[in-house]
Amino acid sequence: MVAEKQSKFKWGMAVDIDACNGCQACVIACQSENNIPINTEDNFKDARGIEWIRVERYWEGEFPNVKAKFIPILCMHCDNAPCEPVCPVYASYHTVEGLNVQIYNRCVGTRYCANGCPYLVRFFNYWEPEWPESFQNHLNPDVTVRSRGIMEKCSMCIQRIRRGTRDAKKDKREVVDGDISPACVQACPTDALVFGNQKDPESRINKMKNDKRAYTLLDHLKTNNNVWYLAKVDPDIEAHHGDKHHGEGNHKEDSH
């Protein structure tokens, strides 16, 4: 706990659902950054696909007045993570920088952490990972290729965080907001995903998490998430409440 307080960083992410258009660029970026095996159709049919970040799609209303809503789900890096105390070998581990990471060497594959996780963002390697021949040279050398029988999960691209802090140290300067971005954040075309240091009062994430649209998922479980969501601005509801100036939503789409 002391080390956590002394650490200069506490990483977090904010997801503006209002800006998310469900393009799945984050999913692909994560897939290639983190050496995740290709999710074939069979993987999905077996419910064994691995997506460290996934975009869930919800339909609202009846055709033709139907709306699609998207919500990207990734590891919430809970401060009070249910996956951590249950691991018998400390493979599920909390860093002093507030990240919930998986230590592959330690993992024996009990899958207890995955049962404990309310967001189901932990994935088990049922088989030895395989890539087509042409992909062999595309693997990211900074990221371990996970063998079969272990759990894996979002690390907030810890390799990029390490590189960012190392470069800053080399240049004898502080890490500034925007220096470091995980692959999903970098790939997001609408800037819906924002990554940053919560201990930096000037960081964008700090402003976003204090926004009145901000909330965390499954709050009642008291897992103290480090990923905030900014609620979708629904023009219909907004019109109803008469508060037309609040939020970043596009009010022109109002169908009434």
Partner: protein, 457 residues
């Protein structure tokens, strides 16, 4: 009323050692069939190690399935040992005598089998030493003491050690009898195992004291083992069907229910296979069935309490889970089968003395209880994970793969194989207990009735 027959010590020796000093006719065919099952099972396990857990039916979000169900089932069965031999010894229930050893044996072998499941269920079974043993002092990483998965091997290891000691202490006088009746290499082995037993008063005193002491020491384990197994589930706040404070006593009483039933099943088999009708008598079945009525009813109470506790909060995910567990196909079929086989049919039968004294009925009803108890564990573990929760995105059902079914069947063949192997070399009914029972019990005429009398230890 009293079914006891006066038997000479010679007759007791001859009858109870009939499987040890000679090989029964059915022995080799049965062992052949069981052995084939055991070999097929081990080949399947090796195949699973070789290919990975992909060969099971497990998938997100059901990460634990048939293996963990079977693990809990066997740990449950293992509670028979302490219930019968420790608790009934301390309460001086006379009718425990013929079945103490069989119950202890069932404990040891079912625990050994139970241990296989979580271990082979690990993704990298060749690394489980890191989980089971404190390791790697150089890096200062010890197993996580907060994890119930770390408590499990400790609880089960303690239980296994205690049961094995208990079994051995009670076996010593019988080993000496076997030592005196065998020749050659067998005699040598029995001599070593009998630890120089000569049957003098001091040795008897030590043996009795050791037995009572071990019984008392094992009582806390009796409560703790299945409580700890239940905490594997109860500590996960995110799984509605698992996160329950009532799990520890609920699992323990369920374990007694299935364990004592398994002992009754075994008693029937012992009667049929070795013809020990003089020792395992209908009165024993009668007493155990009465005990089971109480245990089963208490267990049913816990089942409903658990349901009421979870519904009392009127929490939407909790209600959704119960709806899946109880009313949704195919879980509703499993739930009904579980209620019928776990309680309604067996207890309905046991209420009648004619059923309690009928060996065949007792055999089939106790088999039914264990079918029900296995289904109970399955109903807790799998729907708990497969429930429709928010942010799952895949609401896949779970269906065990052939590999899982084969390995589950293997566990039954393996336990039976070990039991029969043991029965070939050691007496299943304790000889000295049978003799002691002859000495301690008698009949007395009170008025017109003949009443059985017991001298207390």
């Amino acid at each position: 009323m009293q079914q006891r027959r006066i038997l000479s010590e010679k007759q007791i020796n001859a009858e109870l050692l009939n499987g040890n000093l000679a090989t029964p006719k059915w022995y080799f065919p049965v062992m052949g069939v069981l052995g084939t099952g055991v070999i097929i099972g081990f080949i399947t396990i090796l195949y699973m190690f070789n290919r990975g857990l992909g060969v099971t039916g497990l998938a997100r979000p059901v990460y634990w399935g048939l293996f963990i169900t079977t693990f809990v089932f066997w740990v449950g069965i293992s509670h028979a040992g302490i219930m019968i031999s420790a608790i009934l010894r301390l309460t001086q229930a006379e009718w425990r005598r013929p079945v103490t050893r069989a119950a202890e044996l069932l404990t040891v072998f079912s625990l050994l089998t139970a241990l296989f499941f979580p271990l082979m269920h690990a993704g990298r079974p060749w690394r489980i030493a890191y989980w089971l043993l404190p390791y790697d002092f150089a890096r200062g990483i010890w197993p996580n003491v907060r994890s119930p998965l770390f408590w499990d091997p400790i609880a089960i290891g303690t239980y296994l050690t205690g049961s094995t000691l208990f079994l051995f202490v009670a076996l010593i006088p019988d080993l000496a009898i076997l030592r005196d009746r065998t020749t050659g290499i067998k005699k040598g082995i029995y001599t070593v195992l009998a630890l120089g037993w000569r049957g003098n008063p001091r040795q008897w005193q030590l043996q009795v004291v050791a037995g009572i002491l071990l019984s008392a020491l094992m009582l806390p384990i009796f409560v703790s083992v299945h409580s700890i197994v239940s905490w594997d589930f109860a500590v996960t706040p995110a799984v509605e069907g698992w996160h329950s404070t009532i799990f520890a006593p609920y699992f323990v009483i369920g374990a007694v229910h299935s364990g004592v039933s398994a002992v009754v099943t075994m008693m029937c088999l012992m009667r049929w296979l070795w013809k020990w009708n003089n020792y395992i008598r209908p009165e024993h079945f009668d007493a155990l069935a009465r005990l089971l009525i109480v245990v089963a009813t208490a267990w049913l109470g816990f089942t409903f309490l658990e349901l009421i506790f979870s519904l009392y909060g009127r929490d939407a995910p909790e209600i959704a889970l119960r709806e899946l567990q109880i009313f949704t196909w195919p879980w509703n079929l499993i739930f009904i089968t579980f209620l019928l086989t776990g309680y309604i049919i067996p207890v309905g039968c046991w209420l009648f003395k004619r059923c309690r004294n009928n060996i065949a009925i007792m055999f089939w009803t106790t088999i039914l209880v264990n079918v029900g108890m296995w289904l109970e564990r399955f109903l807790i573990i799998v729907p708990g994970l497969a429930r429709k929760q928010v942010f799952v995105y895949t609401w896949e059902g779970y269906w065990p793969s052939p590999v899982e079914w084969i390995i589950m069947t293997w566990s039954f063949a393996w336990v039976s194989f070990l039991m029969l192997l043991f029965a070939r070399f050691f007496p299943l009914v304790p000889l000295f207990e049978a003799k002691e029972s002859q000495v301690f019990t008698t009949e007395m005429k009170v008025g017109r009735a003949t009443v059985p009398m017991v001298i207390r230890e």
